[in-house]
Structures are given as structure tokens and as C-alpha cells.
Amino acid sequence: MLKTRLIPTLLLKNGRCIKTRQFDAARDTGDPVKASKIYDAQGADELLFLDITASNERRDILFDIIQRVAEECFMPLTVGGGIRSMEDIRKILKMGADKVAICSAFVENPDFVNQASRTFGVSTIIGIVTYRRVDGKDKVFIHGKETETEQNVLTWAKELEERGAGEILLYSIDHDGMMNGYDIDMIRQVTQSVSIPVIVCGGAGKLSDFVDAVQNANASAVSAGSLFHFTDQNLIKTRAHMKNAGLAVRSV
């Protein structure tokens, strides 16, 4: 039977791990290759790298990191951030990533979803939906939280599925780094609207948040950054907690 995936998120900037709150106020949290090895040893089910490096010249640092991680961590690696073209995808997969996660470029050019999934396979392409609440409405944002779009979260998630994305990464900007729990209502609505797996990110602050997202909102995978960086909760304790709560998790 399929296990609920527990995925540490590594937010990268200029080759370092950082943590943000509502996509602002970055704090350095260390070396990504070292962090990856620790997560690997603790039996993470997958690693998610999101690169928010602004300048394109520094992209080579990301390639180097992915390459170094892929040499020693024999587990699924997903890479997102700044991917704009088929060539970008090809390059990142060649460095050792298994899946790519794309946000802005998909919103700006929806045909890119079809093209990417046809060429690289549905299961290689993850559509990232970053959103925040504006005047009581949940709006899709791109370029971090710079640009508000006209897209509604549910319609866009559904369109990503129809165009060939294999998974949705649902990322709440409002909840990012706040450690106040996931946006359960939105997760539930999205998982009810699509039939592809939904990975959730943003807000996990205690172990029961993971259980909540799976049991009460049907998330396929739970992701977190702060919880593993800033608290004494590690993946082993988290997995034990999830198991005790009755979730199917991998025995490592």
C-alpha cells in the first residue's frame, strides 16, 4: 500500500538553505548538501529543493548542489524555482533531479505544462500553486509574492491537472514559516477538485499538523521546512507520530 510521503523542503538562495516567513525575511539555515544527507539518513521519502535565487548567473550553484546531492542520496529529488524552458528542465533532470516543480512559467504560458508533460512524462512534472488571501479571496501569486494573478486556486489546480501535471504542490504564502498549521480548508478543496496527488507546504508547526492534512484534507504528501530546521522534531519522531495516529508511513 502507498505510504504518506514526508518531504523536507529546502529553500535555497545563492547556494544556501534559507527560511522565510510569508516569503519574506530570509534566515540562513545552513548548507543544503549537509542537510540533504541528514534528511536522507533519517529516511525522508523525497527531498524538495526550491531555489529562490534572483539572478540567473547564480543558477550554476543550484546545478552543483543537485549534482552533489544526487551522487550520495539515492532517493527521489524534486527541484523547483526559476524553471522557464524545456532546456531548463532537461538540464535539471540531467543533474540528477527526478521531478521538476514549476510555478510562474506555467501561469504565464499554460501550454508549457502540456509540452513539458508530453516530453518528460506526466509523473515528472509538478505544478506549484502559490497563493494568498486577498480581500477574502484566494488568489494565485507568481514570482514569489510579487505578482498577483487573476487565477483562482481551484480552477488553476484543475487546469494544471488537465494540461498534464502529475502532482500539485500547494503552497500557502500566508502560512509560510508561521508554524500555525496548514491551510486545511484550502487543501481539502483542492484534493476534492483534482485526482492527482497533492503535496502540501506552508504552516506545519507541530506533528499533529501533518496528521491533520492527511486525515482531514486528503493530502498525499506533507512537506515542511521550519519544523525540521528550528525545532527538535526530526523526521524519525515525525514518522513515529504519524504512525501512532494511524497513518500509513514507511518503515525505515
Binding site: L2, M75, K99, F120, T124, A221, S251
Partner: protein
Amino acid sequence: MIVIIDYHMGNLRSVEKAVEWVGGEVIVSNDVDVIEEADKIILPGVGAFPNGMKNLMELGLVDVLKKQILVHHKPFLGICLGMQLLAKKSYEFGECIGLGLIDAEVVKFSFADQSLRVPHVGWSDICVLKESPFLDGIQTGDDFYFVHSYHMKNNNPKDVVATCRYGFEFTAAIQKDNMFATQFHPEKSQEKGLRLLSQFVMLGSKVNA
């Protein structure tokens, strides 16, 4: 020397690194001479079945592969799409003829139950049905990493050595003589996956079942 067939389908680097990690000497190639020289063959692959077949044909690798497997009995490992391509045909984007080395078809997962999402992505435990030199040290209950929307339906149950449950039991690994293949990704399955790859690396260069 183990050759990993480069037919432009997915990330071959992970497979290469993992095989090297367990001590295998490996070369990534689509050169017919290199393939004929190799002791063992790995056919990995991520992507759509018709593209995979098209690339194998365009690179002139179909007959070479069949000869290495059927005539020279070289140990062969297929991974994910590399397993599915062994089937007679697939229904991905219409109907497409496969290598036809295994009596099977490849069909899409489809569930009414909304909790069973497609693609099937993540770690699932397998059930080992019979002993296989490739599965030495692997037991029922061990978790492996899967990522696929299509699965193999075998007409000859004898070929199926392990299954996995997702809504129903589907084929997780097959073996027929010197051919072994997995739907899951051993190169992405941490310790157990590396164990399986090391079995393949350590096998004698010819398997006669």
C-alpha cells in the same frame, strides 16, 4: 561491464551513480558495439511508452537488445518504462507495440475511489511471490519508490515475481530467464534499492534459468 542504454528517456545519471555506488562498472551508451561488448544490460526510462519505442527504433537498438537478451542470455534489468517496454503492447496514447519479450500489456490505472490518485507516486511495499536471484535479501513488506500512471498486466503469471497493491494487486517485478525488471525505481529506493542493484551487479555474467 554493465551498459545503461541511453535512448533519451529520463534521468540515466541516477541509475549510473547508484550502480557505481554498489561497485558496478558501468557505461552509458547507445552504441551498438558497446552494447554487444557489455556483460549486462540496464534499460531504465521515464516518460511515455510510444516515445520510448520510437527512440529505440530510431537508434537501431531493438534487434540488438533482443539478440543480447535472447541469443546471448545476458542478464538484463529493466526499470519502470524499461520494464513496460518488454511487453507486447501498451495503451498509452492509443496503441503501441512493444519489444514483445514478455507476454503482457501495459494499461492505465483508473479508479472510481478518489483517494486512489493517479499517478501512483511514492513508497509502496511489495509482496514477493517467488524466489529470484535478483530479489535475494528483499522481502515482502519492503518499501520501494514508485512513480507511474501505467502498469503491466501479465498474461503469464509465471513471469511475475513481485506485486504491489494499489486498489488491486499489480505487477511490481518480473523475471523470465535472464530478464528481470521492476516497475519501481531501485536507484531511488535508498538501502533496499541499492541492495537489489548490488544483486544485479554481483550476478554471474550469464543467467540460465
